[in-house]
Symmetry: C2
Subunit: 338 residues, 2 copies
């Protein structure tokens, strides 16, 4: 990101026909887009691509979620057919979806709209050993990077994170605890809906997996392989791909937040490309966003994932750029700003 | 609003391919739209009209704002020329603006895009007597009702509140205190930017005006005339017009919140048509929304007014309707929801 373009955007915010700072977070995002584009006003990002990565989790054997593992592939196929919430929201926002199987466990027929980049048939159960090998982790990261490269090559000017994977809040809480240093009990929540007993079991399982596999935040790929997931790996790659292609990326939900902590641990300069879509119902989101220094654009009490909160934030990101290019200045409007 | 359509929408939310309740506030807004339309799924509101009402305030003579009164007309003309924040946001959201002078004090040339419905050249100074006569208050209310009627007759299927008026947070805080029963100091904020001394003066001025003019919440038009403003009156009429035409209306900011308290005092059944756009930086917003039982869709730290927060919420309202009509059910997707 360009500090010069950032400064120009901040200067321009001050002369537009509005009280100083009165557009709140939109002013900060607009300046960030200018820094990313290296120009002020920044172009309005109009061609959004939601990268949805699907994977399964061996830790589901420990009863950390009430949903059967087969729901991962059912929802992936529902997305391919256009029937999930993220499809509806993306159609409205004019964004397109790229669906990638990076780690689905179940069998399913080859399906239009689902890219087969399966690295493994789900992770292994982190409560009995590392979730994956270092090689699997690197291959899943590469899937994400390549997905970003292909999207940008095809014209995307903003990326959005999406995911599907029964049990993936468990791996996400583990990664967030590792990279933020905040305790497991603090960053672990109810996912898409579990009771007190299952929540207590989920915390115990994560703590045991961390004790067993010793994830090391200073070796991010080792930590990912120890307690992460294939879709978290791919999303981290997708974020790194956004950064290396110099396009902004909107995060949604606790899985993307875990991936962002991982991406920034691998490449700190990726942080400047991150925009937080939705605030946390999951406590891990709050801790991860604090760690990353991000304020979310949307807070509707969503706890769905899929990318839904990122897509709902897209019009606000677009608005923040449009403000810089289309609003009149006090001078244009003949107002003495004093 | 139809309780039957509301119930159908709630039942439909439960069978869509997502965990129960996971779309948060979008589920409640979708059900509200169904109730308003009297059908489930409700139509997606696509033709939004932002009603911007401009007026001036005699109380500015008491030094409650740093901005000169002439900025009201300068910003109204800036909006007519398309250069204000609300123009930029409306273009992006596909909403149109209707600009109405209901109480501007300054002279200005007749301008394309500005409707002259001027009832008075600003209110009188509420610190020395009633802000307006009962007749003026009723005429300004009627301007708002007619504006809603005309917008809906021309095809609008959702209305949004907008306003411009230097000093209008002062009249809004006064009205919110009267209608919520919450103390003036609690509901009065810094508007678009005042320091501690001016804030203290603003509270004193409002308290003195209430003591002098004795606004009576059980006679809402008297209360409006005592300490209100012409654009608050017109906005209350605009809200009543939305309700009588059975279209939803999105509120933005403290001025619209004051108008909504007034509208609901006049006609309690209007409450079912209200959607809160932006949360409050102004404390009066928080108290008014609590009084009205509304949760805001957007919280970006905006403190601009104009309708900006309502327009930013429009895509979310549209999404809430689209979810009900376009998402697959668990049965469609072949998922056993247990």
């Amino acid at each position: 990101p360009s500090p010069e373009a950032l400064r120009l955007a901040q200067q321009r915010q001050a002369i537009l026909t509005k009280p100083a700072g009165s557009l709140g977070l939109l002013e900060r995002i607009g300046a960030q887009l200018a820094a990313i584009a290296g120009s002020c006003p920044p172009p309005v990002p109009e061609r959004g691509v939601v990268g949805v990565f699907a994977g399964d989790h061996g830790v589901c054997a420990q009863g950390v979620t009430p949903w059967p593992q087969e729901v991962t592939v059912s929802m992936l196929l529902n997305m391919a057919a256009g029937g999930a919430a993220v499809n509806v929201l993306s159609r409205q926002a004019g964004a397109s979806l790229v669906l990638t199987d990076v780690g689905v466990a179940s069998d399913y027929p080859a399906t239009d709209g689902v890219r087969d980049r399966n690295v493994a048939r789900g992770t292994r159960d982190m409560s009995v050993g590392p979730a994956m090998s270092r090689d699997e982790a690197l291959r899943a990261l590469t899937v994400g990077i390549e997905t970003a490269d292909e999207a940008v090559a095809a014209g995307a000017d903003i990326l959005l994170t999406g995911e599907m994977g029964i049990g993936n809040t468990t791996a996400s809480s583990a990664l967030i605890s590792v990279f933020t240093g905040v305790g497991v009990a603090t960053v672990t929540g109810r996912g898409t809906g579990i009771d007190d007993d299952v929540l207590a079991r989920k915390v115990d399982v994560i703590e045991a997996a961390i004790a067993l596999n010793a994830p090391d935040a200073s070796d991010p790929v080792q930590a990912l392989a120890a307690v992460g997931g294939l879709e978290q790996a791919a999303l981290a790659g997708f974020i790194l791909g956004a950064a290396r292609n110099r396009v902004p990326i909107i995060l949604d939900g606790v899985i993307a937040c875990a991936a962002a902590c991982l991406a920034v641990a691998l490449a700190p300069e990726a942080a400047g490309y991150l925009i937080a879509g939705h605030a946390g119902a999951e406590p891990g989101i709050t801790e991860a966003l604090r760690h990353l220094g991000l304020d979310p654009l949307v807070d509707l009490g969503l706890r769905l994932g899929e990318g839904s909160g990122a897509v709902l934030a897209l019009p606000m990101v677009q608005a923040s750029a449009r403000i810089l290019s289309e609003m009149a200045t006090f001078e244009d409007a003949g107002i003495d700003a004093g």
